[in-house]
């Protein structure tokens, strides 16, 4: 059984102010297998985040069904951990309380929460920063807290919405490596939204290339490259050339459509 199943998803945004409907996603079907690392790749505005938000339960499809682990999604829940583009940490809680926020909601005692948080804090390499407040952390550290917080849910799937987009190149590379290591260790399903071809190729077991307005899946590409991925190797570059060509074609068609 697939871990995540999207069937004939269509999303129309109603723009009440301009009295116009926007077709954001047009009849997308997609299955994500257990332990897969799927990258949703597309330019900004192509609906990839909308698709992710529907899996998370923040948005509902206009038509079609989303199921996770065989159960239809009808709202956000702790079975799906999400890592946001901004870390979205509670600024009034120290790092360890942010990581263990889920346990606070479940009414765990403080000492137990603290113990449980430590494992995930260590996993993302933040030992020593347990009592820091979000305002005292760098962007990369905040995202690590966000990842630890999602991992502590021990979710079936982890949804990531361009979590490394705001980080500098070096930090981004380190975080990507660590994320792959964590994914290999935890054996969970990841759906990772990105607009970077390189990032998709470094991380994914499959890449779904999306077209924009309306959002459709142009091509699903399975990556059987060995890890750690050699970003300068010929096979990596073959994939990259292929995807860039898809994106270029897409852009040309859009421009032609705009002219016509």
């Amino acid at each position: 059984m697939a871990s995540i199943d999207l069937q004939n998803i269509t999303k129309i945004f109603r723009d009440a102010k301009r009295k116009r409907d926007l077709l954001a996603i047009d009849n997308v079907s997609l299955s994500v297998e257990k332990n897969e690392f799927l990258c949703l790749l597309g330019s900004s505005g192509c609906g990839k985040s909308t698709l992710l938000n529907m899996i998370a339960g923040f948005e509902k499809p206009t038509e079609g069904t989303v199921t996770v682990g065989g159960k239809p999604v009808d709202g956000p829940g702790a079975d799906r951990g999400m890592v946001f583009q901004q870390a979205n940490l509670m600024p009034w809680l120290p790092v360890w309380e942010n990581v263990a926020f889920h346990l606070r909601l479940k009414g765990w005692r403080k000492a137990d929460r603290r113990d449980a948080a430590q494992e995930y804090i260590d996993m993302v390499g933040l030992r020593g920063f347990e009592n820091h407040f979000p305002a005292e952390l760098s962007g990369g550290m905040s995202q690590r807290v966000g990842i630890a917080r999602a991992l502590l849910l021990n979710p079936q799937v982890i949804l990531m919405d361009e979590p490394f987009a705001a980080l500098d190149a070096q930090t981004k590379m380190d975080m990507q490596e660590e994320l792959v290591a964590i994914w290999q260790k935890q054996r969970c399903t990841v759906v990772f939204v990105t607009h970077s071809v390189d990032e998709a190729l470094v991380l994914g077991t499959r890449v779904a290339v999306m077209t924009s307005r309306p959002g459709r899946i142009r091509e699903l590409i399975a990556l059987d490259l060995p890890r750690p991925r050699d970003t300068t190797g010929p096979r990596f570059n073959d994939h990259k050339r292929h995807i860039l060509n898809l994106i270029r074609e897409e852009g040309m068609q859009q421009r032609q459509a705009a002219v016509a």
Partner: protein
């Protein structure tokens, strides 16, 4: 800067005003009874507090009792205003239907000066603590309410998303996300509210109560004891300052997480 020179900074302006006032009163430009010198006021105030030579006549040695009855009214009215203002503010800020049904009424009552409720307050509650507590409540309630609503409405939607991703129920969202997110704004309301509370307790005591600092102030005016009037004014100012300082201490303890991320956190 050292702590000593900082406290010296605070004292410069008040000391200068006191010195100028002392010189002005003793110059004989105005009759001494109309503008008593600070030294005279201090003497009378001292007798009011400690009762050493009965310069404050019937009030001698009664300051603590007077201050306590004013402070009790402030505490009661303010306490009711804090609880009801914060709870109602969260409800109005969070649920649209509460906002639609309750807010228009509240916005109509808000511009009515609390003082104009005095006649009704006396009819309803008589001459005692209750009308004063009612007025204090009215004065403190609206700033606390408005600031709470503002704090809830400006809470970061992404934090609410993050918490619901972790399985928070609506009640948990309110308690663990919305309330702490609104806290900086709530404290702003608490500080405005405490000022209004002192203002109204004194006003109420002038009209509707027969005890407290405001009563002494108004009573002394009838007996032309401007030294006592000034001592009462100074007492009110000092107590208001002390309660505000207390709220500031509570605030910096509750909002310590803002440390280093806001302008306010630079304050010593």
């Amino acid at each position: 800067m050292t702590a000593l020179s900082k406290s010296w900074e605070r004292a410069v302006v008040p000391l200068f005003i006191l010195a100028a006032w002392e010189v002005f009163s003793r110059s004989g430009f105005l009759p001494a009874a109309l503008l008593p010198a600070p030294s005279v006021v201090l003497h009378t105030w001292g007798d009011w507090i400690f009762g050493f030579d009965e310069t404050s006549q019937g009030n001698t040695g009664r300051w603590f009792a007077d201050a306590l009855s004013s402070a009790t009214r402030v505490a009661a009215g303010y306490g009711i205003a804090v609880v009801s203002g914060v709870l109602l503010g969260i409800a109005i800020g969070w649920w649209r239907w509460v906002e639609r049904t309750v807010e228009p009424t509240i916005q109509m009552l808000r511009p009515v000066p609390p003082v104009s409720w005095i006649p009704l307050a006396i009819i309803w509650f008589g001459i005692a603590n209750k009308p004063a507590i009612f007025l204090v409540f009215l004065g403190a309630f609206f700033p606390i309410l408005m600031n709470t609503i503002h704090g809830v409405k400006t809470a970061d939607r992404n934090l609410i998303r993050a918490a619901s991703m972790m399985g928070a129920t609506e009640q948990q969202l309110l308690r663990h996300v919305v309330f702490p997110a609104a806290l900086p704004s709530i404290f702003a309301g608490l500080r405005i509210g405490i000022g209004a509370a002192w203002m109204l307790t004194v006003t109420a005591e002038m009209v509707a109560v027969k005890s407290g600092l405001g009563y002494v102030l108004w009573d002394s005016y009838y007996f032309l004891r401007y030294d006592l009037v000034l001592a009462a004014m100074a007492s009110i100012g000092l107590l208001g300052y002390a309660t505000d300082a207390l709220i500031k201490v509570l605030m910096s303890a509750a909002l310590h997480w803002q440390h280093g991320s806001t302008l306010q956190s630079r304050e010593g």
